[in-house]
Amino acid sequence: MNKRYFIVSLLIGITTFHMACTAQPITPARPAPAAAAPAAAAKSPDSDPLAFHRLHKPSGKRNRPPAEDGIHDPGNDGTHALLAPLSVFPSLPKANSGNRVDWVQALAAGTIKPRADQADATEEIVVMDLNIVREVKGSMPNVVYPHKQHTEWLDCSNCHPGIFVPLKGANQMSMAAIMLGQQCGVCHGKVAFSISECRKCHSQSKEPNPAPAAK
């Protein structure tokens, strides 16, 4: 059992190395689904208590072209006319989650110039620079909510009053609600950067908690 895993890892290691050397894309080496099916069904890592990534499936490949992304139908001609994310993303600033693009930087640096109006390319969006600090109990740094980066993209009415009453401290917020897709989670974790980037929101350091015993 463990030996089989070892061999598999070894083979994958060799493949990765081999592919890196020959600079081949990974995809062609994937087996045809038909050939893969019996083997995969015979022993799925899902049922193995010693498996790594037992509960959280490892990420597949990112930024796939539409025809290979699992939701577009490759049998549709139109699918093949669509732009692939990687035809644009390598020229944009990088981030660690979501599209793997730092959209705030891309906009600030002028790498992209998205319109603020559907037809009028000259229309400017109203930007408001106002930070709201939300104190957080416990060890996590305080949350700084920046109006500036938001109003570069969004209209006041996108948040006020539907998601947030516009009054400092008037809204109850919690990580649990955010992870259910409420409050900041309406956009973060769906279109804007992901919840995994804790420090983008929890950005104001505070006095470390006093040690429990010390005085």
């Binding site: 979501g98 559907q118 969004l154 279109v191």
Partner: protein, 140 residues
């Protein structure tokens, strides 16, 4: 069969066990692009492929306010009751896909690109990524 020292031979010999190995461990599911929205309230039932809306592509060209404030798209996958009459009357996608701001509505197969049966949802969201019981249908 070529000699092993040639590159092709090396590929062939390495290729088979590698393919078996990859077949044996789970091949990771392909991933949609973050923020891709499938809209499928009516398409399946009407015999059309579901619609796939790519956020990344549109946000390179437009800020969020254009669609979510000016054009009135609610922040909810499948939450806008979009249909073709509204589109040809210039609402929702039709505010731009009118041959003026963007290519016109005759290009059915550029919007209706989804795999049949895919429900309305925003793809690769954090909620889909959280650890969950195996076999759960939440993912895809």
């Amino acid at each position: 069969m070529k000699k092993l020292t040639t590159s092709t031979g090396w590929h062939a010999v390495l290729g088979l066990p590698v393919m078996l190995a990859l077949a044996w461990v789970e091949v990771p599911v392909a991933r949609a692009e973050y923020g891709d929205v499938v809209i499928n309230n009516y398409s399946d039932a009407a015999g059309m492929r579901p619609v796939v809306f790519p956020h990344w592509f549109h946000r390179l060209r437009f800020r969020c306010n254009v669609c979510h404030a000016d054009l009135g798209f609610k922040f909810k996958a499948g939450g806008n009751e979009i249909n073709m009459v509204k589109i040809i009357d210039g609402q929702f996608c039709g505010a731009c896909h009118n041959g003026d701001v963007a290519w016109p509505v005759e290009n059915c197969d550029l919007c209706h690109t989804g795999k049949p049966g895919t429900p309305s949802q925003v793809h690769e969201s954090d909620i889909q990524q959280f650890a969950q019981p195996m076999g759960s249908t939440n993912k895809k």
